[in-house]
């Protein structure tokens, strides 16, 4: 499609040449002829150019749309996405009619009523009836569009169904951290931004004074969700603004530090199904960032895998709770967990027998004083 560029060049050059050539003509034919006719030179040429622009522009619009259509996103993979898409194209249809109608009238009148010697323009300063009509028509159309938009918007923004799969997604410079409630209690534990510690496997600040946190696991490259079941995203950011964008699902919601947001949707086409439908064996759903967040903004990619329940469960089984990773790297961490929960937390420790409880307690004192420093 270098043709596109070529075509553009030709259009622009064509216009330039056409104007220049006609000018030569006009000037060659002695200025008097055209100068006497209109108060400014080239009036006729410019009149004609409106029609040329109208025709070339209309062809260009239709042709460019047809050639671009192939690259639009495939049909939305969520019911609400298909709803907003059909509304988008409905609105777009109306607007396209208005676009062509108004531009046609504008360009056509410009050409039709170009300066003619001796012609006197019509003194037509107002017409209340006409004005009333064309105030009322857009008002009615807008009312319909607002109503349609309002209905979809309220529906999309309603609370997530109770049976939704809850996934937390947190934006950071420059990537995402996805957190699941774990396979024991399937419940997201508390978090606290002061507990975030990149060096010790806790990038999302999971708070282990809440026992619901113990089995939570995270992933920084993939999100797996079950097909056909609502997904409730709990969205947050830990440094600057980000925005969760899942183009194929028509999902977008900002991630705001200090203010959790949410979005729910139902992915009803699995990744496999999309691979078959698009004929692209490497197809993947992707999550991108759409709120400028710094140098790496353009590359905050996360894969979204939509699959059946068995596959999601199998994947979850393979994920290691964050607590296990932390305890593996730093057994003394156990001392930071409230005493009453330690026994339960030990279930997540890989080498239970090796931990010397006295060291752990001393370690606790040290750790605490360190953390207060």
């Amino acid at each position: 499609m270098v043709y596109l560029v070529g075509l553009l060049l030709i259009v622009l050059l064509g216009i330039a040449v056409a104007v220049a050539a006609k000018l030569q003509n006009v000037m060659g034919n002695i200025k008097s002829a055209s100068d006497d006719e209109a108060p400014v030179p080239n009036n006729k040429i410019n009149g004609a150019l409106w029609i040329l622009f109208l025709i070339a522009g209309s062809i260009g619009m239709v042709w460019s749309y047809l050639s671009a259509e192939a690259y639009f996103l495939p049909e939305a993979s969520s019911p609400h996405g298909r709803e907003t898409d059909s509304q988008f194209w409905f609105d777009m249809g109306l607007l396209t009619i208005a676009f062509f109608a108004v531009n046609f009238l504008l360009f056509f009148f410009a050409w039709k009523y170009q300066y003619k010697k001796g012609y006197k323009a019509t003194f037509y300063p107002e017409d209340h009836k006409l004005e009333l009509i064309w105030t009322a028509i857009p008002a009615v159309i807008m009312a319909v569009l607002v109503f349609l938009g309002f209905r979809s918007w309220t529906h999309i923004m309603s609370d997530a169904p109770a049976d939704a799969q809850v996934v937390e997604i947190m934006g950071k410079q420059f990537g995402w951290v996805v957190r699941y409630g774990g396979i024991q209690d399937n419940k997201l534990g508390n978090y606290n931004y002061k507990l975030i510690d990149d060096n010790n496997s806790n990038p999302s600040g999971i708070d282990y004074s809440d026992e619901a946190s113990f089995d939570d696991f995270i992933n920084v490259s993939e999100m797996h969700v079950e097909v056909g079941k609502p997904v409730s995203l709990k969205i947050r950011a830990r440094d600057v603004l980000h925005s969760v964008f899942i183009p194929h699902m028509r999902v977008k919601m900002d991630a705001v530090p200090g203010m959790p947001t949410k979005f729910w949707f139902t992915p009803d086409k699995s990744t496999e199904q999309m691979r078959a439908e698009t004929g692209n064996p490497n197809f993947d759903y992707e999550i991108a960032c759409t709120e400028v967040c710094g140098r790496g903004h353009f590359a905050m990619r996360l894969r979204l895998i939509v699959e059946d329940k068995a596959s999601v469960d199998a994947w979850k089984q393979q994920q290691k709770p964050v607590l296990s990773q932390i305890l593996e790297a730093n057994p003394k961490f156990i001392s930071k967990i409230p005493e009453r929960l330690r026994a339960k937390a030990m279930d997540y420790a890989p080498y239970v027998e090796e931990i010397d409880i006295t060291t752990a307690t001393t370690g606790s004192a040290t750790a605490t004083s360190t953390s207060f420093r």
Partner: protein, 626 residues
């Protein structure tokens, strides 16, 4: 006669300080001038300077987007270390470029450049005043703008680069120097520059409103004001109400950046450190920002629409259709402009109910906008149209205003905005409806009033070529961007290689870049025409476009004080073009009805009785000796 009493009390202010007319020295005449015409030219030249820089920046980032991976080492002499060893643009610098392009174009070119030039130039000339209400504040306004420009210009050359968080400078990115290179000294200068810019804008706006209300000449009632003046006045009021809110937003951000407050910061962990700030809200900034940001769109656009109204009526040789409807729709748009700001924030997580309200209010704007478009078209209908370059740009503006405005109906719809927010669809929308349309207003204004500004004519043919290349160029650049937006491409991306869904459209992006570069170079036709004609253009006649408004009753080279002798009185509205029965196809505002008996409508004969009254009025001639 409402004018009568409005103008009665002002002789107190009509000092005779100007009555001695010795030549001012060079500095007072051209640099620290208090003459509105000189100040207008200062704004215009500064605006053009910034427009070149802003447009050149867009060419650089279009190179990156259209030709990713191309070797741009040849830019090293200009951009230095921002071009990496491999000849690529540094991603930080890419963000700096888009940020500065936005800031420069929105504030320095289309706010200061457009309003600053034409409000300053036209208000006194069209309402019939010797100068602005306060020449000194007017001078101050320009020089504040100049200082603000200098600060912004310096920031481009900083080691860490200029501000780079997008022109909306959302915190926390803009608040934390550790978050981004552009949030260091560049952002400090940005905020400082904008604070000063806002003061400049306020001084200017207050002056415009005061002048329009107080210094209209005899007989110039509000319903006889040209639509340009109406547009400038409403724009100035918008600015007066909304810019202070941006100032407050900027001040709070300065506090967050330098004095440890937490207005916009909460629960942040960055660079291995949890910050102590809690309780603030980044969303608060967005509310404050867009409370200016949305009216700002109209601050940029309304003057262009005012200019267009005047030019289309003049060159169609017809009265503007629906003069009162035009004023009413300007007012409606301006009022609505204040209560739609959160449509920029549908997906920030604000209450969905608020989203519904803002969607409703936003879509209402389509109604007055449609009225304006229809009125323009009807003005062309059965006209006798003269295609001066100004007229071409005005018709082009209407086309862009409609084409870009229509997609606003999509984006104002909260449900549809979910997918399209922050994609190229938005970029296409606002560049057409606000960027290009307002720029066309700027061009139209320059082509139309150049003869009054410099006493010389621009070359018409070059102006026409400039128009067609620019008009085609704008559509070729921004129409394809809609497709890219529908395909989900996010804006402010350095490149699209990281995502599978954004791998297509490489040719389209190349096409857009080529169109942008060609359109950029087409502007040099204008620049050459402009600067050449200032010195060598054909000497202008007194009223080259056969226009009705008062500025054309001044001498070709307008001196200090605008009119030699008395300021003309005004007897009629400015749109008596092609009036039935009249010998000419225009009747200037200063021609009394008693002299046009052949073309008066029956009700207009009643005005003849008022002429004496108008002439007897005390008017605000600042030069008159008492």
């Amino acid at each position: 006669m409402s004018v009568v009493e409005a103008n009665l009390e002002h002789d107190v202010h009509a000092h005779d300080e100007h009555e001695h007319h010795e030549e001012l020295n060079f500095w007072r005449k051209y640099i620290f001038s208090e003459d509105h015409k000189v100040i207008a030219k200062q704004y215009m030249i500064t605006g053009i300077f910034w427009a070149i820089i802003g447009a050149a920046m867009s060419v650089v980032f279009r190179l990156q987007l259209g030709f990713p991976g191309a070797n741009l080492s040849w830019l090293k002499p200009f951009l230095g270390k921002w071009i990496t060893e491999t000849g690529a643009i540094d991603p930080n610098f890419y963000l700096a470029l888009v940020t500065m392009h936005g800031t420069i174009m929105v504030f320095f070119v289309l706010t200061a450049g457009l309003s600053g030039t034409f409000s300053n130039f036209l208000i006194p000339l069209q309402v019939g005043a010797r100068d602005m209400a306060s020449g000194f504040l007017n001078m101050l306004s320009f020089w504040f703008f100049f200082v603000s420009s200098v600060l912004m210009f310096i920031s481009i050359f900083l080691e860490t680069g200029p501000a780079a968080g997008g022109w909306v400078i959302y915190p926390p990115l803009s608040a934390l120097p550790q978050a981004h290179m552009g949030s260091e000294m560049g952002m400090t200068l940005w905020l400082l520059s904008m604070a000063i810019f806002i003061m400049s804008s306020l001084l200017g706006s207050l002056n415009y409103v005061t002048t329009i209300i107080n210094l209209r000449t005899r007989g110039m009632t509000f319903t006889r004001l040209p639509l340009t003046i109406w547009a400038f006045m409403i724009t100035a009021i918008l600015g007066i109400i909304s810019f202070p809110v941006l100032l407050s937003a900027a001040l709070l951000l300065i506090f967050d950046r330098h004095f440890g407050t937490s207005f916009y910061l909460s629960e942040i962990y960055i660079n291995g450190e949890a910050l102590p700030n809690v309780g603030g809200s980044p969303i608060l900034f967005q509310h404050l920002f867009w409370f200016l940001g949305h009216p700002e769109v109209y601050i940029v656009l309304l003057p262009a629409l005012g200019i267009t109204s005047e030019i289309i009526a003049t060159n169609s040789r017809k009265p503007i259709f629906g003069y009162r409807a035009m004023i009413a729709s300007l007012m409606a748009i301006a009022f609505l402009a204040f209560i739609v700001w959160a449509h920029h924030m549908f997906v920030t997580g604000m209450n969905p109910f608020l989203g519904s309200i803002f969607m409703f209010l936003t879509l209402i704007i389509a109604v007055p906008s449609a009225v304006k478009a229809f009125n323009y078209i009807t003005t062309l209908w059965r006209g006798n149209i003269v295609f001066t370059p100004a007229m071409l740009f005005s018709i082009g503006l209407v086309s862009l205003f409609v084409s870009g405005g229509l997609t606003g109906i999509i984006l104002g719809n909260a449900a549809l905005d979910i997918q399209l927010h922050d994609t190229y669809f938005v970029v296409a929308h606002f560049h057409i409806v606000m960027g290009a349309a307002s720029a066309f207003g700027f061009f139209a204004g320059i082509y139309h009033w150049f003869p009054k500004m410099f006493g010389r004519m621009l070359n018409n043919t070059m102006g026409q070529i400039h128009f067609w290349l620019t008009f085609a160029g704008v559509y070729l650049i921004f129409m394809p961007m809609h497709y890219i937006g529908i395909a989900g491409f996010p804006r402010r991306y350095y490149q699209f290689t990281a995502f599978d869904f954004a791998k297509s459209f490489t040719d389209m992006n190349m096409f857009i870049s080529v169109a942008a570069i060609l359109t950029f170079f087409a502007q040099f036709i204008f620049l050459w025409n402009f600067f050449y004609s200032i010195f060598k253009g054909k000497v202008a006649p007194a009223n080259p476009w056969k226009s009705n408004t008062l500025e054309w009753t001044t001498p070709v080279n307008v001196g200090h004080g605008n009119w030699v002798g008395e300021i003309p009185a005004v007897y009629r509205w400015p749109y008596d073009y092609s009036k039935p029965g009249a010998p000419d196809d225009f009747i200037p505002q200063n021609v009394p009805h008693s002299q046009t008996l052949e073309s008066n409508f029956p009700h207009e004969n009643a005005y003849i009785a008022q002429e004496k009254e108008i002439e007897a009025q005390n008017y605000n001639d600042q030069f008159a000796a008492h």
